[in-house]
């Protein structure tokens, strides 16, 4: 297994390089003089000259890429001029909040989605199946930001069950209970679309598996139906569900942008939107590379989980 993990880590290197090239190329599309664009209203002649030196902006595209890559490998993602602090510090400060939000959502959508899909498949064409199918359709059709706003109206303003927005109260203690109160609505709103997608896939994966011979074998053994569904069938269906979980993790991680805006969640997503509106190019660039890299690492974990589940994957 260690060998497999190492192999997957090594194979991630070209992907990470590819990601850095893509981000670099996108940022190279910025019209006009890069230093002036990056500095914006801070573009004094000294600043422009210093930046040109630091980032090699006066050199060719290839040289610039390698300078940028070299700096990043040393932990230097550049400096945000709008915030006047290193990009990496800002990203790391914000990333925790996004991780809590997206992580919770991911767990939520995996559990809910798989459960809904399994129940739907086990009760195919029954009332539960039809109800789930309809709710799922609604879930994948509603924009998460609209859902979030409606949840604020109903559950925060009308019913007063949850705070309207933010991650922590302005005054008062910061403990787990308070965090969960603030987290409940945004995490749910963020998970809804992914839950729907996972539920659909889990349902069809389960239907596929339930028709297989080894399910009949389990039934012929007298195994209880609940175990046939939740152990035998689900275990086999997970092989095709897990890759989808990986893809949905990407949607949850990047979809956090909308939810962070709606719920004033102090995460990377909101930072990125602010940075884009302020034309804080280096902050955007650093933030995007950082999140994309995290996602690549996460996908390696997904692959490892898959290998642990399916002994047929050669380790």
């Amino acid at each position: 297994m260690t060998g497999y993990i190492l192999k997957r880590l090594v194979s991630a290197i070209p992907v990470l390089l590819g990601i850095s090239v893509i981000v670099f190329l996108i940022m190279a599309m910025i019209p006009g003089d890069p230093a002036t664009a990056i500095l914006g209203s801070y573009a004094t002649p000294e600043n422009v000259e210093k930046l040109n030196r630091d980032l090699g902006l006066d050199q060719g595209l290839v040289a610039r890429y390698f300078i940028w890559l070299g700096n990043m490998l040393q932990g230097d993602f550049g400096r945000s001029f709008a915030l006047n602090r290193p990009v990496l510090d800002e990203v790391l400060d914000r990333f925790g909040a996004t991780l809590i939000l997206a992580g919770t959502s991911f767990v939520l959508c995996s559990l809910l989605g798989i459960a809904a899909g399994v129940i739907s498949a086990a009760r195919q064409y029954g009332v539960a199946d039809k109800a789930i199918t309809f709710v799922v359709l609604l879930g994948i059709s509603i924009p998460s930001f609209f859902l979030g706003m409606m949840m604020i109206l109903v559950f925060a303003v009308q019913l007063r069950w949850f705070p309207v927005s933010g991650m922590w109260p302005i005054y008062g203690d910061r403990n787990l209970g308070v965090l969960l109160e603030h987290l409940a609505m945004p995490a749910f709103a963020l998970s809804v679309v992914a839950t729907g997608v996972i539920a659909r896939l889990a349902r069809s994966a389960m239907l596929e598996v339930l028709r297989q011979d080894f399910i009949r074998t389990a039934r012929a053994k007298g195994v209880r139906e609940r175990q046939v569904i939740w152990r035998h069938a689900l275990r086999a269906a997970m092989v095709s569900i897990i890759p989808i979980l990986g893809i949905q993790a990407g949607f949850v991680l990047s979809g956090a942008v909308y939810i962070e805006m709606v719920f004033q969640w102090p995460g990377v997503g909101r930072m990125l939107v602010d940075a884009i509106l302020k034309r804080d190019i280096l902050l955007v660039q650093g933030g995007v590379v950082f999140i994309a890299a995290c996602y690549v690492i996460f996908n390696i974990m997904v692959d490892v989980a898959q290998a642990l589940l399916d002994p047929r994957i050669k380790t």
Partner: protein, 627 residues
């Protein structure tokens, strides 16, 4: 094409989606013609008018602009943006996919590497990066959303193109001297176009959501112009005080996207042939029972007594009568062979006993299966379940498919034991090892830890047998357990079974199409044809002097053990299709001796010698066979 639309029309939800989308699109198209207020004229004194106020049906927004008018214009813009993004993504992505798929080799490699890289990004993040570089704005948001969807099209279309690029008509075009560009335009493009259109229709909903999302963040359409997303974004600050300004555009996005999704699902279902055939339905825990008469009483005090069993498959409006009234019985310690060609109903008979016929489409429509004084047909599921594996166990045909691929052999055995007996895991583990030893598996201890894919076919079937033995059952039903194995392994498995039977006093129902196997193992044999038993009797007697012409043919086919599989086709003709059984003898079309009477009416299974029965008007006369 018409059939497709008819199918779509039958799906009421899809039709509803089509209607909704149709209305929205038409309204969006005629918006400029409608007598609406100017969407961009601000009137601050009249800001936040509620819904249904005079002059503003949906009220006004934070700048006093008419919400209805803004909604209509915003819908128009959102639809246009989503559609444009879909077209751009489809055109670029398909072009890339066709080039990669058509030229193959290094071109394909380089392009697809790039596509994979793009797909390694969390989706929305890439769009954000593009907008960051180009700057916020309607066109830039459009470009960003289109760009992030290009890889999706490229990958799908490439797959289709690879398939087409190797078809004969492409080769023919090449030989005819057409240039690559001409071939792509004339031969490839028309073939991938339907796929592109379908992919577009399923993604346009996403694109509308994504462009609205970017506008919501303030990165798309810029004021005063507004699409649905930026309307929602602007209304957000007044969400609590004036919720209707948020609800109006948000609900519109929901309606549009839901309509598109409903329609898309309908299209997908209409195009998926598996849904039509009902092949996607899952079998229930026990076969459905729908008996149209009273259950026949047990006629004998046999261990297992099958009386007038009828099982059919209902696939849409056709009915296949797989088992058409079968009577059988097995005594304690006896081995009964059921033999017949595939499709004769022998497996369905066997599976009906414990309600294991896949249902839907299978239904038991009549008869009874008496076991130990109770009728299993129509028994409660919990009763069936507690008997399954404990008193009546199964061994199935293909051990590759019948063992769970992801559980260790040992764990599957332990589960079989612990399902019916409340023993500790350790005790079950010890018993599992001794079970593996009893089916002569070498290194039983280490085999416990093996996964099915790590074993040979014969080894897996031994595990299957060990699992059937786990709870010391009274009856084992073996459904062609040796068919998937090669001849030497077959012989080993048969000898394991025959030893176990002697040691444990097991009753075995052995289903096969091979008379050689029957001769080696079974005391009695029943021959099935077209869902009914045509001959029954002691194995030795039937082998020596078959009375039904079909039996006689089957025996002629089998010179040696295990050789039967290949030679069975030697009987001319095919078994009848069981949804259109002929009147009278089902074998008549293939029988040399068929007379007019044979087709006149149903023929009874009549006793001939003691303990022998045959369903034939002109049974073969006993002639001594030379081996």
């Amino acid at each position: 094409m018409m059939a497709f639309f008819r199918l779509l029309a039958r799906n009421r939800l899809a039709l509803a989606g089509l209607v909704v989308i149709g209305i929205v699109v038409v309204l969006a198209l005629i918006t400029p013609l409608l007598p609406l207020a100017d969407p961009d004229v601000t009137d601050t004194p009249n800001r936040f008018q509620p819904m249904f106020s005079a002059g503003a049906l949906l009220g006004t927004d934070h700048l006093g602009r008419d919400l209805l008018s803004r909604l209509m214009w915003g819908t128009r813009l959102s639809l246009a943006m989503g559609f444009a993004a879909a077209v751009i993504a489809a055109v670029l992505g398909s072009a890339i996919g066709i080039i990669a798929g058509f030229y193959g080799g290094r071109t394909d490699n380089v392009i697809m590497r790039g596509v994979d890289m793009l797909m390694a990004f969390p989706y929305i993040l890439l769009a954000l990066a593009i907008v960051a570089a180009l700057g916020p704005g309607l066109m830039n948001a459009l470009i960003a959303v289109a760009a992030v969807n290009v890889p999706f099209f490229a990958r799908n279309i490439r797959g289709i193109t690879v398939g087409i690029a190797h078809k004969e008509f492409v080769d023919a075009a090449r030989l005819a001297g057409m240039r690559n560009r001409e071939i792509i335009l004339a031969e490839v493009l028309p073939n991938v176009l339907p796929v592109i259109v379908i992919a577009m229709s399923t993604t346009v909903g996403w694109m509308i959501l994504e462009t609205a999302g970017l506008s919501f963040l303030g990165l798309g359409s810029q004021p005063p112009q507004a699409d649905l997303g930026s309307m929602l974004g602007e209304a957000r600050s007044a969400l609590i005080t004036n919720p209707h300004t948020s609800i109006v555009p948000g609900a519109m996005i929901l309606v549009i996207v839901m309509g598109i999704n409903l329609l898309g699902d309908g299209v997908r279902d209409a195009l998926d042939p598996r849904l039509k055939s009902g092949a996607l339905s899952r079998p229930m825990p026990a076969t459905t029972v729908d008996r149209d008469g009273p259950a026949p009483a047990a006629r004998t005090d046999s261990l297992l007594d099958i009386a007038d069993l009828r099982t059919e498959f209902r696939v849409r409006n056709r009915v296949y009568k797989a088992v058409g009234g079968v009577d059988l019985h097995v005594e304690k310690g006896e081995c009964l062979g059921i033999i017949g060609e595939s499709g004769s109903g022998k497996s369905v008979t066997a599976l009906s006993v414990m309600g294991l016929v896949a249902s839907p489409p299978g239904v038991i429509t009549g008869g009874a299966v008496h076991f130990d004084g109770q009728d299993l047909v129509g028994a409660r599921y919990e009763v069936l379940r507690s008997l399954r594996g404990r008193r009546v166990a199964y061994i199935f045909q293909d051990p590759q498919a019948t063992l769970h691929p992801l559980y260790k052999a040992g764990d599957q055995l332990i589960e079989a034991i612990r399902t019916h007996e409340d023993v500790s895991r350790e005790a079950a583990h010890r018993r599992a090892i001794s079970l593996l030893k009893s089916v002569r598996i070498p290194n039983a201890e280490s085999r416990m830890e093996s996964y099915p894919y790590e074993m040979s076919g014969g080894m897996r079937q031994r595990v299957g047998i060990a699992m059937a033995l786990a709870n010391d059952p009274d009856v084992i039903i073996a459904d062609e357990p040796t068919t998937a194995l090669d001849v030497t392994v077959q012989a080993q498995i048969l000898s394991v079974l025959s030893d176990l039977r002697r040691e444990r006093g097991l009753a075995i129902i052995f289903i096969t199409h091979d008379f050689g196997v029957v001769g080696q193992l079974c005391d009695r044999v029943a021959v099935m044809y077209a869902g009914r038993i045509v001959e029954e009797g002691p194995t030795a007697a039937v082998l020596r002097s078959p009375q039904h012409p079909y039996t006689s043919r089957l025996i002629d086919c089998v010179p040696t053990l295990g050789g039967g599989q290949r030679r069975l086709a030697a009987i001319p003709g095919l078994p009848p299709v069981v949804d259109r059984l002929p009147h009278g003898c089902a074998f008549a079309d293939r029988c040399d001796k068929a007379q007019a009477e044979c087709r006149a009416g149903s023929i009874a299974l009549a006793p001939t010698e003691p303990a022998r029965k045959v369903r034939c008007l002109f049974p073969e006369v006993a002639k001594e066979r030379s081996a």
